[in-house]
């Protein structure tokens, strides 16, 4: 690794507690819209915060939430057995169920013509058209019968070209697929010492995309946030060590319009924002 970008924690939003802008038990998902509004999904609730960190909306979901994503004015929520679609104010617009295909929805993404829903039970990604018609699965042709997720979560992100970037932690890789399920490429290797590698039994657990094709990942078992360039070379360790409680696991991650990295801390139940401050020699 040559020059390493440096990041600092800019601020945090929400936290553990009983207040209306807080979560009592779990924070599992984070998303950001084009205005920089934060959507936090935890317990059985979605909370929306503006760019200054003020809560603007909150609403309850019909089941505990495991994922959240924003598509224009619509907020999609992943749950056990279904997804729900809300308008930003919390009015429910739709729900999708698809029998056994939607076991536990732990990530949601969009292409120009479809919706991708990660099913952690089947360890693959379900691809639907915009009306909810199933098209194909991504990852089910994997030699292991799906992504290897001892951590219990399938997470992915979709870039502007519709390429699906998936964390495959048991293989210590980030894999790239077309929405039709064709494997395009991958990067990553095991290494418990070199930060360029992915440590432990199964990392990275979560993935997001930043500007310039950069890939942001989070890790567990020594929680860490890292950024790789579009070629899969480590660009920065954003946060590690004492920055997180060692019990942090499956930290969902998103990137806001200013390229700040937003991490859902599952112990503090906070969204934590990290911003780039320079490049170290």
């Amino acid at each position: 690794m040559g020059a390493e970008a440096e990041y600092r924690e800019a601020r945090s939003v929400s936290g553990r507690g009983a207040g209306p802008d807080r979560f009592e038990h779990a924070l599992r998902g984070v998303a950001v819209d084009t205005q920089g509004h934060l959507y936090l999904a935890g317990d059985s609730e979605v909370k929306v915060f503006d760019a200054e960190g003020e809560m603007r909306h909150r609403w309850f979901t019909s089941r505990p939430v495991y994922a959240v994503a924003v598509d224009g004015e619509d907020v999609w929520v992943g749950e056990e057995g279904q997804v729900e679609v809300y308008e930003v104010g919390g009015t429910r617009l739709d729900e999708w169920r698809d029998g056994e295909r939607l076991g536990l929805v732990t990530a949601i993404g969009f292409t120009a013509a479809g919706v991708l829903l990660a099913d952690a039970r089947a360890r693959c990604i379900r691809h639907y058209d915009l009306e909810g018609g199933w098209l194909n699965d991504v990852g089910e042709r994997h030699r292991k019968g799906g992504f290897h997720i001892p951590n219990g979560v399938v997470d992915f992100a979709v870039d502007a070209d519709g390429v699906v970037h998936v964390a495959n932690p048991g293989l210590h890789r980030v894999e790239r697929y077309t929405a039709a399920g064709e494997l395009l490429g991958r990067f990553g290797r095991f290494d418990g010492r070199d930060p360029e590698g992915f440590p432990g039994c199964c990392n990275p657990t979560n993935v997001a995309l930043a500007s310039g094709g950069r890939v942001v990942v989070t890790e567990k078992g020594g929680p860490r946030v890292k950024v790789y360039d579009a070629e899969g070379r480590l660009e920065a360790v954003v946060a590690a060590g004492d920055a997180f409680d060692p019990a942090c696991k499956n930290m969902d991650v998103a990137v806001d319009p200013d390229d700040r990295i937003v991490v859902a801390d599952p112990v503090r139940l906070q969204a934590r924002l990290f911003e780039r401050v320079g490049v170290a020699a």
Binding site: H148, C201, K220, G221, P246
Partner: protein, 192 residues
């Protein structure tokens, strides 16, 4: 063992399970014959397996304090809960240098008591893309607990725990492990 088939592995595991079950049953019957209490280890108290006990040193009292030459406490891998990972943190020292095969160069168990088998055919060009079975050889394990600590959430799935082998335990009135256990996890409890 690279030539083992899934059938071999399953057969091996099944025979091990049956033998362990027979041993446990013999021990159980022996305990029943002697009395109604037995020394048992509470995994929810043991620092090696207790969730949330992170960043602490492994406790090896079960291995070091038992009056037997090889402790009556052994590690057990609950296969139904095992992730069958390519890089198992209980098998490998995942902080050791990476070898030319891309795997950690050192094992974690000081007695090399864990065996690793690929399940089915392992692709030599992509061995990571396979499941692996981890079987603990109870004739070698001394219950040091290192694998238990390494497999604990969030590092692993917590499929390994320490158990008292009642067919080996001498059922001492004043158990040396119990006396030494810093967490009061080693208790004499009724056998129901």
């Amino acid at each position: 063992m690279s030539g083992m088939t899934r059938r071999d592995v399953l057969g091996h595991a099944a025979r091990g399970t049956v033998l362990a079950g027979l041993g446990g049953m013999c021990g159980f019957l022996a305990v029943k014959a002697r009395g109604t209490d037995a020394w048992q280890l509470d995994p929810g108290k043991c620092v090696n397996s207790r969730l949330g006990a992170l960043g602490v040193d492994v406790c090896e009292s079960c291995a070091s304090e038992c009056v037997l030459g090889l402790s009556a406490v052994r590690a057990v891998n609950e296969l139904s809960q095992c992730g069958r990972c390519y890089v198992c943190p209980a098998y490998y020292d995942v902080t050791s240098a990476v070898g030319p095969d891309g795997l950690p160069s050192e094992k974690l168990c000081p007695r090399d008591a864990i065996e690793r088998y690929p399940i089915g055919w392992a692709d030599p060009d992509d061995p990571a893309n396979n499941y692996y079975e981890y079987v603990i050889d109870e004739t070698l394990c001394n219950g040091c607990g290192r694998c238990v600590m390494a497999c604990k959430e969030p590092y692993g799935l917590g499929s390994i725990r320490l158990e008292v082998r009642h067919d080996l335990c001498l059922d001492c009135n004043r158990c040396a492990i119990s006396t030494a256990c810093p967490e009061d996890a080693y208790e004499r409890l009724p056998v129901s």
